[in-house]
Symmetry: C2
Subunit: 401 residues, 2 copies
């Protein structure tokens, strides 16, 4: 595979965008990424999205977004028509892997450029969830679980994560407040991210007093849904000068059983371990060299499990990193530096691309108050389902700062 | 890109499989393709599916199918566990491009192997549509159209195609019976395909007397939905001996506006033209050299438009090929040799992979009564929406027969 770099990034604020359509949000992020890259278009569009078919009555989403965003020009006049036809025509496809859709779409774009099949690819993660009521969105999120063997039994997606968290607390002796630092760090960092959904500092007391959702997960353990889109433009690294590029040095994806009860170990994210190991190997790095890690904190328990599976903490010791102040931007393992899923927000199929955009911002040194000093190697990990599909990327900066 | 070959194929009968689940159908096709290839597993799974989120309450489908099919082995024991863990773990992702999902998934698998990222990839197209009532499936199919500007106005997917067909008949002076040969050929060929949904010969009289669906499209202009799955195993061509391989010599995808009313020309499939031209160029062939063409006859009008856009007929003259007996297995442009969407059936997201499987059968000389004599170069074209996403592949056989 030839090496691939990220030339441009774009994102929308995550919010309840009741006056915007899904295509419109995606278009805003795409045009921002193109503007950032100084480009007009790209040869293909890869869309990460989970639930447009369910909550927006829209499939065939990638063609729709490509057209709306004016991607591509028809340079081959067809019989009966002459000249350059602007505004449509690029290859476009949607990738779905539940909440891991964004990361999976990014990996698909990477392979398309790495293969030599194309010289540029846009990846956009886009989701619009707030036009429907809470029960409809809860039902849509539950499609990430096993419909026949989990959802059919009445368990919601947060319910599944609650079972995992309860078992984890029982097994390793943690109390609920021990998870507070994950949410506190995320909320604190989001204060400095204008694209974040929540701008609200929280304390341990807030965390403990918050409304219960599914014991032991309360509102401040859980990430908010939202509407938003994030985009990145990929080009061959060889076309850029070494002094100004951010390269995708590691990329891997792995799966686990969809149903949590089918796993021999419910407290270890096997697919996170596998994909992280493969990405480390490809990038030639170890966890110690990762300067910033945008992980998938859909629920606080997932932060702990992701840190453990990726080699940043011993098994059962994830919460220790938070309690020891190691996860903030000045710590040993900075996570959720732009707010994470918890406070930046979690527009499910878009999240994986937001993570990429945020790591690029860190490697460019654009993060102000939450900048990780001298960040040069960053990592993202995007999870679909309760650990069923996990996509890990390592980005390396050649930028001299 | 390195050259990629198809080593194994598998498929289920298309039917109303009320006693089978979606994962079960996909697993049957995958295991058949692995058996055909003499392999145990593959490094990744690419799933083509349109509507599992809507009609099966199931997203994250690729991880589910990978697990159910027992794909992958965990050769990297994780902390606390030892040895080879069978049965799950391969990278898996779902590709959605409405009824073009299967072809798009096949192209994603191609790029993954061509890039050098992996040495094998399974592609499966799978759809299970008959557990829901007709109005629910009609609504699900309508998500292939523009939700805000077409579906919102009350037009169904067949309604959109009816508008196109009516305009075509008006513009070029064809009468409805002139489209009969497309359906008659498809039904005649399906008689010899045990995997086809419909085994029922039809006549011009049947065609003309059939129940109206949306004027001028009647029941025998339209393909039936169904439950089914088809799979193919892709490996680098260099790993196989020249004398026994079928190579993907051309591959391309293009898009058009989702909304039909946004197109400057509604009677020309621009994306079909673009993707066919690109695939021809990549394969180094012209339409004259194509021995067999599995096209996307979701409605008879689409057969005509596809033949014209791909260079087999002049504009407005597609039906002539049928009337002149050129489209049957002994004709100049054999199409739908295993029954096409019309009679083999159209399990929407699976169809594109069925087309690939059927062309491989032709190039292997396995088609008995409907075998195209000496077929060496075959083509598939898979369409998502009313021409919005179009994926074209050219397969070339090195097999000596």
């Amino acid at each position: 595979m030839r090496s691939v770099a990220i030339l441009g990034i774009g994102q929308t604020k995550i919010d309840e965008h009741w006056d915007r359509s899904l295509r419109d949000l995606a278009g805003e992020a795409i045009l921002a990424a193109l503007r950032d890259a100084g480009r007009d278009s790209a040869e293909a569009l890869f869309v990460g999205n989970m639930m447009s078919g369910i909550v927006n009555d829209q499939n065939n989403l990638a063609a729709l977004i490509a057209d709306w965003s004016g991607l591509g020009f028809d340079n081959a006049p067809w019989p009966g028509r002459q000249g350059r036809q602007p505004g449509h025509g690029v290859e476009a496809v949607k990738i779905e892997a539940a909440c891991g859709s964004g990361g999976a779409a990014f990996r698909a774009g990477l392979m398309a450029v790495a293969s030599g099949e194309m010289e540029s690819a846009l990846v956009v993660g886009a989701e619009k969830m707030t036009d429907r009521g809470p029960h409809e969105v809860t039902a849509a999120l539950a499609t990430a679980a096993d419909a026949d063997y989990e959802t059919e039994a009445g368990v919601s997606f947060v319910g599944l994560n609650a079972l995992i968290m309860r078992r984890y607390m029982h097994e390793y002796g943690w109390k609920h407040a021990d998870f507070a630092p994950f949410s506190i760090n995320a909320h604190a960092n989001a204060m400095h991210n204008p694209y974040a959904r929540l701008h609200q500092k929280i304390t341990v007391e807030d965390f403990e007093k918050s409304h219960m959702v599914a014991t032991p997960i309360n509102l401040l353990d859980a990430s908010p849904i939202g509407d938003g889109a994030a985009a990145a433009l990929l080009v061959p690294a060889e076309t850029l000068s070494r002094a100004s590029r951010i390269v995708i040095s590691g990329s891997a994806s792995a799966t686990d059983t969809l149903a949590v009860h089918d796993r021999p170990e419910v407290l270890f994210l096997t697919a996170a371990y596998k994909s992280a190991q493969a990405a480390y190997k490809m990038a030639g790095v170890t966890p110690k060299e990762i300067d910033v890690f945008e992980l998938h904190d859909a629920f606080s328990i997932m932060s702990a499990l992701s840190l453990e599976a990726c080699g940043f903490a011993e098994r059962g010791q994830g919460p220790r990193l938070g309690l020891d102040n190691e996860i903030n931007p000045n710590g040993r393992v900075p996570i959720c530096t732009r707010g994470g899923l918890k406070a930046r927000g979690h527009p499910v199929g878009a999240t994986g691309v937001y993570q990429i955009v945020e790591v690029v911002q860190q490697l460019r040194g654009e993060c102000g108050e939450t900048q990780v000093d001298g960040a040069r190697i960053g990592m993202t990990q995007n999870i679909g389902g309760s650990g069923a599909t996990i996509v890990t990327h390592v980005l390396t900066s050649d930028v001299k700062r």
